[in-house]
Symmetry: C2
Subunit: 106 residues, 2 copies
């Protein structure tokens, strides 16, 4: 299992709306993430809009590729695009920055 | 168990040295973290010096307070201080920024 950390930037004027949207993620989106192997997946948000994602998965590239094939993910990412600072490719799931793990304690 | 995410900023000219130091964290520092209840603890680093910490613990304030009492933590934080951008209080364990969890999928 690998541990993955990535960042994105949420627009400051959309922080409350972003929080609200994530209290009500569509059940079919949650099911898709589970089926694609995203486990122990959290999103954390700072007051200035830094969004940090953390998850555990066998193979992150495969988990992203699996989601990229799913229609529900395209609908979700289309809804989310406007929450983020401009992204390469315009989509959060392709514009994220992955960080390197430099330390781990079980 | 609560999931905790925090950030710090590593000085860009010290990124390689920071990585190297974390390949050889002192065994007594690892033991202290375990005893203080830090579990599944990872540090992630971006190319521009953003450091993200993720851990799981019963009570993060208690876990920080427990470490703050330990002599080995004072020695470790003194070694680490020079790796970070200037911090309030001059110490990484008191100058970190905690982020809010806005989403979780088991």
């Amino acid at each position: 299992m690998s541990r993955v950390c990535f960042t994105l930037k949420v627009r400051r004027e959309r922080l409350d709306a972003y929080r609200a949207a994530h209290l009500a993620v569509w059940p079919e989106m949650l099911s898709a993430l589970r089926e694609a192997g995203w486990t122990n997946y959290s999103l954390f948000l700072s007051d200035d809009g830094l969004l940090v994602g953390y998850l555990e998965t066998e193979d992150f590239d495969a988990a992203l590729a699996d989601m990229a094939k799913r229609e529900v993910n395209h609908r979700w990412q289309a809804e989310m695009a406007d929450y983020f600072e401009p992204l390469s490719g315009g989509r959060a799931d392709t514009g994220l920055t992955r960080l390197e793990e430099v330390f781990h304690l079980e």
